[in-house]
Amino acid sequence: MRKASYIALAVVGCAALTLVAVLGTFASPNTLSRVRALGEFILYNTFNVFSKRWWAGSPEAVTAVLWDYRGLDTIFETTVLYAAVAGCVVLGYTSLLKRGRGRDEAGGGLTVVVKAATKILFALILITSVNVALHGYITPGGGFAGGSTFAIAPLLVIAAYSTEKVVRMGFRFLSSAVMRSAGLLALALVVLSPLIYYGFVLQNQLKPNSGFPGYPAFLGPLFLGGSLLYLNFAEFLVVGMEFVLVFLAFHFMDKLMGGEGSG
């Protein structure tokens, strides 16, 4: 009886939600070939070199929305991420203090074939993640995608070797926390420094009623993309290091539970 009521609730709730979306979207097949006016405004203005009043200096519209048009959303999103990871770290770190440092497990892990493949993939993933983060203002990608990609590399090593191996490679609890804080500080610096020139918080390019001339979009033949490049790299540090912290904290928690130490 209870199961049937749960099923009914789930079906009715999702059907109602879909109906709302359908009424707004499927009025006629012709409207589906257009996007909302806000989207079209951003698409037209994001790299409008002829009228730079509302431009973001980036041909990648998603990154422009992320760090320029809706930048405050992203800042608060980073705050939520910080709070969630801080909660995880507190839970894991108290376990570490109770149990003491984990013993060094030599050997173990998976077979030689997997370990050799992991070594190659580790380097490839690191290069790819930095590339994704640094090119985020020209091609699809950015700080979030790059950071999430980066986090896979230590996870792979945890699976093939052990968490001790990751710690020995330099992904220590404290250094990860320091790197994350450095990323957050860089983020704050880029966001707040236009205020020195009587500009706006999160200002990227030149805007009306602002003394700040904007971050350079071009440097000679190089395309820099304004503040988006720096913000993307700072976010890359923050997201990547926060996930490394979560994996390490989970490992310490596992030790408290008397697990195998496999993360």
Partner: protein
């Protein structure tokens, strides 16, 4: 005349609605906390895909929201604004994915904590252990 792309678009909406229903049912009905978390991630990912789909453009010459040139002409800008998909849902979803990951990690930490305290992941058993009806570590 209804195009194939339109049919696929409508069908993916229906599929997503069914997936969301499965996820909501899992969150409500499953007694194991890990299964609840899995169902929650299903709901979250469905919502993200839903948002992306709402920003899609059903037409023959649809473009990704990345301008293909660093020296655009006015004609290219107009064509780009008229053909590319909506970038706003994509930007919101990329942050939502990372938040989802962080929240899921936090929920998993809490689940591990619950297991270490009560020896079970079944929330009905957790309640009974707290009332003293069952032994911990059971």
């Amino acid at each position: 005349m209804v195009s194939v792309a339109y049919v696929i678009y409508v069908a993916s909406f229906i599929t997503l609605a069914c997936t969301a229903a499965v996820g909501v049912y899992g969150v409500l009905a499953k007694r194991n906390i890990i299964k609840k978390i899995i169902a929650l991630t299903i709901v979250g990912d469905t919502a993200n895909t839903f948002a992306i789909l709402l920003g899609f453009r059903v037409s023959a010459n649809v473009m990704p929201p990345v301008l293909p040139s660093l020296n655009p002409s006015k004609e290219l800008l107009t064509r780009f604004a008229g053909a590319a998909v909506d970038p706003v849902p994509q930007a919101l979803v990329i942050t939502a994915i990372v938040i989802n990951l962080a929240i899921t990690a936090f929920l998993l930490f809490l689940a591990v904590r619950i297991y270490s305290l009560y020896g079970t992941l079944d929330y009905g058993k957790v309640i009974r252990v707290r009332r003293g009806e069952l032994d911990g570590e059971g």
